[in-house]
């Protein structure tokens, strides 16, 4: 069970050397794996493979025992919440409120509970006063929080967060940490991509580092 990658190989173009070579790891529910590595080492690329946007040259990914190949993007989205590195790319509604409630409209949730959930998320991420605004006029940090709130609405068992702390101030960063810890307690799994070593240490139990097209896995608290 869990989110599992076996023997992943990937490159963008045939003639190039492999960007990702023989990547193996797994994330169980209730644990957080930090993915570290310098710019251009392939962290974002790996995350895109994990949610099926990119197809690996070799290797396979399973979510709760199901092969990713056999799932549609929508089905993957129900299992894994993905925060894009650039929040602009994943906001597409006309107002902040719509953005958060979007996922719920397509689910058989009662509108009462749906509304409650949206209110809760907006409140939690400090977006209450921005409800009616156009997402693109928000500040960078606000947009980041909005993108987070939007994927949390789905309540998937796993999350992949590509640098969720960029653009957050000290207070919001702390709040995010608290929120992620809560998610872990609710028995969800998280893959955290970050350059923020301290943040990673505070939340994750495992870490994995991508280096010049190779990687090492260290288990245990670091």
């Amino acid at each position: 069970m869990g989110l599992k990658a076996t023997n992943i190989h990937f490159r963008y173009e045939k003639k190039q050397p492999l960007l990702l070579e023989n990547i193996n790891f797994s994330i169980e529910r209730g644990e957080c794996l930090a993915l570290l590595g310098p710019n251009g080492s392939g962290k974002t690329t790996l995350s895109k493979i994990l949610i099926g946007i990119l197809k690996p040259e070799q290797g396979e990914i399973t979510v709760n025992g199901k092969n990713l190949k056999n799932l549609s993007l929508a089905q993957i989205g129900e299992q894994v919440g993905y925060l894009f590195q650039n929040p602009n790319r994943q906001l597409f509604c006309s107002t902040v409120e719509e953005e958060v409630s979007f996922a719920l409209q397509f689910r058989e949730t009662k509108s009462e509970t749906g509304k409650e959930k949206v209110d809760h998320l907006l409140g939690f991420f400090g977006l209450d006063h921005l409800r009616g605004k156009f997402p693109f006029t928000l500040s960078q940090g606000e947009r980041q929080r909005l993108a987070l709130a939007a994927i949390m609405a789905l309540e998937p068992p796993f999350f992949i967060l590509d640098e969720p702390t960029t653009g957050l101030d000290v207070r919001r960063r702390k709040e995010l940490l608290y929120y992620l810890q809560k998610l872990l307690q609710e028995n969800r799994g998280i893959l955290l991509i970050t350059h923020d070593q301290k943040f990673a240490e505070e939340i994750s139990s495992k870490k994995m580092e991508l280096k010049d097209q190779s990687f090492s896995e260290g288990v245990g608290r670091c």
Binding site: I51, I53, S72, L73, A74, Q75, I76, G77, E78, V80, G81, Y82, F84, N88, R89, Q90, L91, F92, C93, S94, F102, A103, F106, R107, F134, P135, F136, A150, I151, L154
Partner: protein
């Protein structure tokens, strides 16, 4: 390699091809012209087959156009008749076929042009005394389209990842989603173009009346050869065509 030609030579070559495509009005002439264009393409590092595969949908639409053309074009040689009513004529079919062939040739010309990076084009156009701002706008426009497509693609991925299965949805619902996306996408594009304009000016675009280029552009023998051959071939073909000699 023809890919290395000066962008101006490519402009002349594709200009001649496109002009011929517009003048010729019968598949009998257009088909060889298209074949010639297709033969040229690999030398410019374009793979026509891949293109055809990628544009399956557009091709379907074009075929649809062709059928509509052949139905509505008046002609004397009926192909299909229902009672006394002529549904399609030979003239109409030929006309539709010409239209499609012509579009493909022009598409091929576009491919030839796009084998040079847009920046080189700007330079070529400026060397022909086109105002720099204008040339730059053209090239920026060309570059902006793929960017927009990429962005829209990302938005669609994000959409599906939020649990919307576009493929399994009734089309009325799909349409509603597309409609709701339209406004944010357009606004996004406008905001982005404003940003580009700002950052260009911040990097001293238009601060001086003249500018220099990183790579200099020089017409060489192959360029002169290409231009002379394609121009003279083009002119003589058109001449022969209108004289009814071919």
């Amino acid at each position: 390699m023809l890919k290395e030609l000066d962008p101006r030579s490519k402009v002349v070559l594709s200009g001649v091809l496109a002009t011929l495509a517009v003048f010729f009005n019968h598949p009998f002439y257009l088909l060889p012209l298209l074949l010639f264009t297709l033969v040229l393409l690999p030398f410019f590092d374009c793979r026509p087959l891949q293109l055809i595969l990628r544009m399956r949908r557009l091709i379907m639409i074009l075929l649809g156009l062709m059928i509509i053309q052949s139905v509505f074009y008046p002609g004397d040689t009926p192909l299909i008749e229902i009672g006394t009513w002529t549904l399609a004529t030979l003239e109409g079919l030929l006309q539709g076929l010409s239209l499609v062939l012509r579009l493909f040739i022009i598409l091929g010309c576009g491919l030839i042009l796009s084998s040079s990076p847009p920046a080189r084009f700007v330079q070529g156009l400026v060397a022909w005394a086109l105002p720099y701002e204008l040339a730059y706008m053209v090239s920026l426009g060309i570059r902006f389209l793929p960017l927009l497509r990429e962005e829209a693609g990302d938005v669609f991925t994000a959409l599906q990842l939020r649990g919307v299965d576009l493929k399994r949805m009734p089309w009325v619902k799909q349409l509603r989603i597309y409609r709701s996306l339209f406004f944010p996408l357009v606004t996004m594009a406008i905001l982005r173009s404003k940003q580009i304009a700002l950052s260009m000016e911040a990097r001293a675009f238009r601060a001086f009346p003249r500018r220099t280029f990183l790579h200099s552009l020089q017409l060489k023998t192959p360029d002169y050869a290409t231009m002379i051959i394609s121009l003279s071939a083009g002119v003589s073909l058109i001449f022969l065509y209108f004289r009814g000699l071919i």
